[in-house]
Symmetry: C2
Subunit: 289 residues, 2 copies
């Protein structure tokens, strides 16, 4: 397969999926799209995509099927359900799931597709809507090395930092680790800046000083600035981060691993999402004091 000839089917045209599909079109891939509701698909049609109204039919027409869906049950239904990707895909084609779902579900999807001789990669992303638009997403990939290599041109059109972590599920595991670390670091930044303010030190100066030392992080930089300015429009929504932390927490529990800070931030993100599901995750700060 040469780069020019890989045809792509894209399922799920939300905040992330729509700009990703647009970037694939810009890179010269022929793209077929499916989305509920159809309106988002029509937008992509204007950029040159073919609109399909049936998932199995779409899957049967392309070399690569990409799914970008909200959660594990959505991927399970769209890929493994009746009339889904697995039912329609031709042997030798490859499914790439770029949703953030449970590592165990990613492994189940890969196993069921393998029976049909359909390749499979789990390839969740980080970098948010802006990263999707700018094609600068970080992509964490699980699955066979050969399939990863074959899909390199596709990933190159979507992101910058593309790393194969390991076998099936390893991409989702890395994403879970990412979401844990991001949430815990936000909580740390929030608590540090809250303490500074309460003790009468200028939190902006504390942030500036800490950025020059061992406490430096991208979160202190980006989310620290959000907290100082009380700029809590998303960004990344609390309800989505709660979902991702739930995946990590459940995976840890199933593996018999107790992660106390992960548990803590899952509880706090849940409290925040109950109160204001659409707010940015950096609003963890507002739960303090």
């Amino acid at each position: 397969m040469s780069e020019a000839k890989l045809s792509i089917g894209f399922i799920g045209l939300g905040i992330m999926g729509k700009p990703m599909a647009a970037n694939l079109l810009k890179a010269g891939f022929p793209v077929r799209v499916f989305a509920r509701p159809l309106a988002a698909a029509r937008e992509l049609e204007a950029l040159g995509a073919q609109v399909e109204t049936d998932i199995a039919t779409l899957a049967g027409k392309v070399d690569v099927i990409i799914t970008m869906l909200p959660d594990s049950p959505d991927v399970e239904a769209v890929v493994l359900g009746p009339g889904g990707v697995c039912a329609g895909a031709t042997p030798g084609s490859v499914h790439i799931d770029m949703s953030t779902i449970a590592p165990a579900m990613a492994q189940r999807v890969a196993a069921e597709l393998m029976v049909r001789r359909v390749g499979s990669l789990d390839a969740p992303v980080s970098g948010g809507e802006q990263g999707a638009i700018d094609a600068t997403l970080s992509i964490m990939v699980g699955g066979p090395q050969a399939t990863f290599d074959e899909m390199a041109p596709v990933f190159a059109a979507l992101g910058k930092n593309v790393v194969r972590i390991g076998e099936s599920g390893a991409g989702q595991t890395a994403k879970a680790c990412n979401q844990i670390l991001v949430a815990i670091t936000i909580e740390g930044v929030a608590e540090a800046l809250a303490l500074a303010g309460r003790l009468g030190a200028d939190p902006a100066k504390v942030r500036q000083a800490l950025l020059g030392g061992l406490a430096q992080s991208k979160i202190l930089d980006v989310h620290g600035a959000r907290i100082l300015e009380r700029r809590f429009q998303p960004g990344f929504k609390a309800k989505l981060h709660r979902k991702d932390l739930g995946i990590a927490e459940e995976a840890a529990q199933r593996a018999g691993l107790e992660l106390p800070a992960t548990k803590l931030v899952y509880e706090r993100m849940s409290e925040l999402a109950d109160r204001d599901p659409e707010t940015d995750h950096s609003a963890l700060f507002t739960l303090l004091g």
Copy 2:
């Protein structure tokens, strides 16, 4: 006062204090030293320092008195106690406390010295022994702007990232915030890498992927590498980080602020320090699973 003329008295020649005093000598300051035991002072004598055997006498002979001591009670005794800095210092001289102590104690020290017309700055550092040796410490300063400006040549001989945070105590507040954020981030890195390993993904690859995205931090880089290699010789000792987190936790409580992740890492660092006080703080990882 010109740079060449500022004479310095240095009290406390431990792992940090000794190389700091040596750097002041290298920068051309006349330095008098006091330490218990005297052996460390004798080492500095070989580099050109004058050894003093009485704190108040030392304080009376110099323009600037620097203290670098283990904890709040040490600073209280050395500065405010009988025969201490406050008793001996001449009006117009300046005391700089570079120890990590409670912000409230820093404010008390400054207030008592002010009565004697002795200037005062709290100026805790981060960067560890290597930063002290290389004169690359980050220095967080609290106290009057004019005193800070006057002491600029002294700080320039000791560190790189020198920031005045605010009035007396603000340097210690920034340091407390730093120690919170460092500890919470270490716990986050430890939990993320533990989860990766338990779920069968290569923690080294997960670290590498996460360094390229929003989860990036100096801790993920430096302490992440320590954790992967199980390299837990200090570094920064668990017992010292426990002490610093105790300062932060107590300051938060006195201010009526509940900081759940700070409380959690204080408890975990205490557990680690009980088990192995001399181990590096990144050994928080060993408490998992």
